[in-house]
């Protein structure tokens, strides 16, 4: 097997640098790049360990890739590692997006820029639609459990219920149904 992780645990500066690199190259979703870095290039995790970390990070609240950075950083160097990986992941992108924001404020009122944004916003919306549709292929939806996806969609998109209603009502019902189905 070529996938065995290297033994040497990375320190904080290594974690910071690698996550910064992944963040800056990751347009439209950083997670696939993070997998490449962690599993294939650095071999800090083997493929199963990565899948395990990913499923935890998808389950816990918060941005998945940020959770992955915290998990990986914590695993190799505790609080220090988690902070280093988080700072590496977020630092450069925050600066870049603020520069873009400043340019937008400066030039956003120009007709050419605002009409360009009518197009770009439409395409960005398409990206989110695609993410949602892609997730519909999950094997976990190939059962009566799909009804909870439909209820959530209707509740949030059409009835415009606050998220807390979904999390306090639909999510526990869905988990209860899943427990019952596994019995």
């Amino acid at each position: 097997m070529n996938d065995t992780p290297v033994a040497a645990a990375p320190g904080p500066s290594e974690l910071f640098l690698r996550f910064a690199q992944v963040a800056v190259t990751g347009f439209g979703g950083v997670t696939p790049w993070a997998r490449r870095m962690l599993v294939e290039e650095r071999r800090w995790l083997d493929p199963d360990e990565f899948t395990d970390v990913l499923s935890l990070c998808q389950l816990l609240p918060g941005p998945n890739i940020v959770n992955i950075a915290v998990c990986v950083g914590a695993r190799f160097d505790g609080v220090r590692g988690a902070l280093a990986a988080f700072a590496g992941l977020m630092g450069a992108p925050v600066v870049i997006v603020l520069v873009l924001g400043a340019l937008y404020t400066q030039y956003g009122h120009l007709p050419a820029v605002s009409s360009a944004f009518r197009g770009i916003s439409a395409a960005a919306a398409g990206l989110v639609v695609a993410m949602g549709l892609k997730m519909m292929a999950s094997r976990r939806l190939r059962s009566a459990m799909a009804v909870f996806a439909v209820v959530t969609f209707i509740g949030v998109a059409l009835v415009r219920l606050p998220l807390v209603v979904i999390l306090a009502g639909v999510a526990p019902a869905s988990i209860a149904a899943a427990i019952w189905r596994r019995k």
């Binding site: 963040a23 190259t25 990751g26 347009f27 439209g28 979703g29 950083v30 935890l56 990070c57 389950l59 816990l60 609240p61 918060g62 941005p63 998945n64 940020v66 915290v70 988080f86 992941l89 977020m90 992108p93 925050v94 870049i96 997006v97 603020l98 873009l100 924001g101 009409s115 360009a116 009518r118 197009g119 770009i120 916003s121 439409a122 395409a123 960005a124 919306a125 398409g126 639609v129 695609a130 993410m131 949602g132 549709l133 999950s138 976990r140 909870f148 996806a149 209820v151 959530t152 949030v156 998109a157 415009r160 998220l163 807390v164 979904i166 999390l167 999510a171 869905s174 988990i175 596994r182």
Partner: protein, 175 residues
């Protein structure tokens, strides 16, 4: 409700941080509700623009939060919103990660995953629906959204190309 906007940003986003099951985009509808409808910090169009701007930038797709904070309260707002959105969930992840990995085959863990996935998918689809309504104000814009979604699903073309083409079509006055 006449608080300092920084305090409100911190409150709103640290709550959203803990409600963002399945990733940051699942709270997009709630962010929209809070920022546009409740606080009136910006219009729906501005919200869609900031979202698009964040998507054109490299890095985690949570960056829309940074831009919202910045729009509301400048640099301090950007930092408060970003840390608010990441902080609570990071602390939780840090605390849970060590315990969790010991239970990889536990049936309660698989049941929780089974139960949360449908909710996450419903939230993602709702996010796509609502951001489309905010962003698109012409038939041509809906076509762009549809074509981009279809292309992202069926091809391996990088999404930034669609942003570039859609931006050019916008400048040409087609949208």
């Amino acid at each position: 409700m006449n608080e300092d906007p920084l305090v409100q940003l911190a409150e709103d986003f640290s709550l959203l941080s803990l409600m963002a099951v399945g990733g940051a985009i699942t709270v997009l509808p709630e962010m929209h509700r809070s920022v546009v409808e409740i606080h009136g910090w910006m219009s729906a169009v501005q919200f869609a623009d900031l979202f698009a701007l964040a998507q054109t930038s490299p890095g985690p797709n949570i960056l829309v939060v940074t831009l919202i904070g910045w729009k509301v309260a400048g640099l301090a707002g950007a930092l408060v919103a970003t840390i608010g959105m990441c902080g609570p969930s990071c602390v939780l992840t840090f605390a849970v990660s060590k315990i969790w990995l010991q239970f990889r085959e536990a049936s309660w863990r698989l049941a929780i995953e089974d139960g949360l996935v449908p909710v996450t998918v419903g939230l993602m689809l709702a996010g796509g629906f609502l951001i489309t309504l905010s962003a698109d104000h012409s038939v041509a814009a809906f076509v762009i959204t549809g074509v981009t979604a279809a292309a992202v699903l069926t091809t391996r073309i990088h999404p930034l190309w669609f942003f570039a083409i859609a931006g050019a079509l916008g400048v040409a006055g087609w949208i």
